[in-house]
Symmetry: C2
Subunit: 293 residues, 2 copies
């Protein structure tokens, strides 16, 4: 997926928020911001991919502002808050009578979990809203290929589940459990280092994903979404040998849609910005379950 | 006044909104946005003045997107809406019993008028809020030098009143009338060409400022705030020969505070962004009446 003109100020704004969170020294703040304006001047053009610019932005901020994990606190908070309401969300799934309807509800809750992201201009998130968002998850589901994803999952032996955000990954455990019940081997892919509020190995273990999934691996890199050139060989071997991929969130849409997908990829996400919504030709702040290619 | 790091994404965001309002052609949109990222890469540094970058931004957008007046519609709307409620606002002033209290109320209403600005990230404005904002204008007045401004105005023969936005200029007519009653000659300075939603000669005449003030002149340029190097000789002669300046809005704060002020300048504004609020060491979304130097 390519950037839209709107992405420029969003990229800068998220950089700004990370910078001021990382340092109170105006000279360091300006040094980091100058590096970001240079990045945009050099690389912001119609063929750029937002997640790649976002990755470069985050590395610039981490390096110049000397901060290893700008979202550390908010990631912990998201995990804790999501764990608090996990039993209720789990109850919704267990209340369903068939494997298919349990799978559907687990998908919807996992997509609602994807709202847990910060600093996107125009996207507000409040933990108290999760219940309401789950209630209206069916209404907000503007691309609904959950049935096809379910049917494919039943036939699939090896699934790679690419996680997105901390907090969100708590609800993902419920979907992984449903996938396991269908007989698949499920490997979770998390980020190899801190980037935005994306889940890392620490988050996956903290929320108990290791008790549900067959294995957890990292991409081997701190990139937004999936940038194969940056991933470890170990990760790529697992990714390429999977029969099916389930990929959460916008960063995966932005990057995965840039290369020829061979195995089926199920994209589960909330459209939290206009460019991603426009890519799917849907509105912003909606739920998407799309099977590609 | 110098930029803060926060200004970078704001400058870009306001540029983006002007670009998409001006053209639906993505290639032109990207061309304009690239010129803006170049501008920031070259000129965004701790010694930059926000209004000067804003002026350059707006000229880039007007040129590349071939739009002469991006805010034309909203300026007309602001004038009309403000004229609709002018009688009520006028009533508040006429209800006051002394020249001093009428002056005070007229200042407050003129400052509230300064909320009529668009596209500033985090600043929302709704015409229906004007009444409420006037009611709480005293509470929001965090820098109050209205008495000093009143006392100075009484002694002053020649006042130049630098207007800011369309719509706002409707309420300014009431303050100009009070200034006239104190015996001063009042000349209004408006922008010499369209920039943001700043009032031009057309706006000043449309709202009847010509019936209240002694004269209306333009700065001779389409710059945000006041950039003397760009102003016409005619304007500068009048500006320099005034005994006192009343300057509305943030653009004037950003530019006027950059040079040695000789005559007294009364700054009347709403702090609609953090950097301007920080300059005055007050909070955002507050009213300021400050005499400088």
């Amino acid at each position: 997926m390519k950037v839209e003109v709107e992405c420029a100020s969003c990229i800068l704004h998220r950089g700004y928020l990370q910078i001021i969170g990382a340092t109170k020294d105006p000279s360091v703040q300006f040094k980091a911001m100058s590096a970001l304006t240079d990045l945009l001047a050099k690389e912001f053009n119609p063929s750029a991919t937002p997640a790649i610019l976002g990755t470069k932005r985050d590395r610039i901020v981490k390096k110049i502002a000397s901060v290893s994990d700008p979202y550390a606190k908010r990631k912990r908070m998201s995990n804790q808050k999501a764990l608090e309401i996990l039993p209720q969300v789990e109850g919704l799934i267990l209340n369903e009578k068939t494997a298919k309807s349990r799978f559907r509800t687990a998908c919807l809750c996992s997509i609602v979990g994807n709202t847990m992201e910060f600093d996107i201009p125009g996207h507000t998130f409040n933990y108290d809203d999760i219940g309401r968002l789950i209630k209206r998850a069916e209404n907000d589901l503007v691309i609904d290929e959950i049935s096809q994803i379910f049917n494919l999952s039943k036939k699939t032996k090896k699934i790679m589940f690419l996680a997105d955000n901390a907090g969100e990954i708590v609800f993902d455990t419920l979907l992984v459990r449903e996938l396991k019940k269908l007989g698949a081997n499920v490997i979770i892919g998390v980020k190899g280092g801190p980037v935005l509020n994306d889940a890392t190995m620490e988050d996956a273990r903290y929320v108990g994903m290791n008790k549900v999934a067959d294995d957890i691996v990292t991409t081997g890199t701190d990139a937004v979404g999936l940038i194969p050139e940056e991933c470890s060989e170990e990760f790529l071997t697992l990714y390429n040998s999977s029969d099916m991929i389930i990929a959460k969130g916008m960063g995966h849409v932005e990057t995965l849609t840039e290369f020829n997908l061979i195995s089926p990829h199920a994209l589960l996400l909330r459209t939290k910005c206009n460019p991603v919504a426009n890519f799917f030709k849907v509105k912003r702040d909606k739920n998407v379950a799309k099977l590609m290619p």
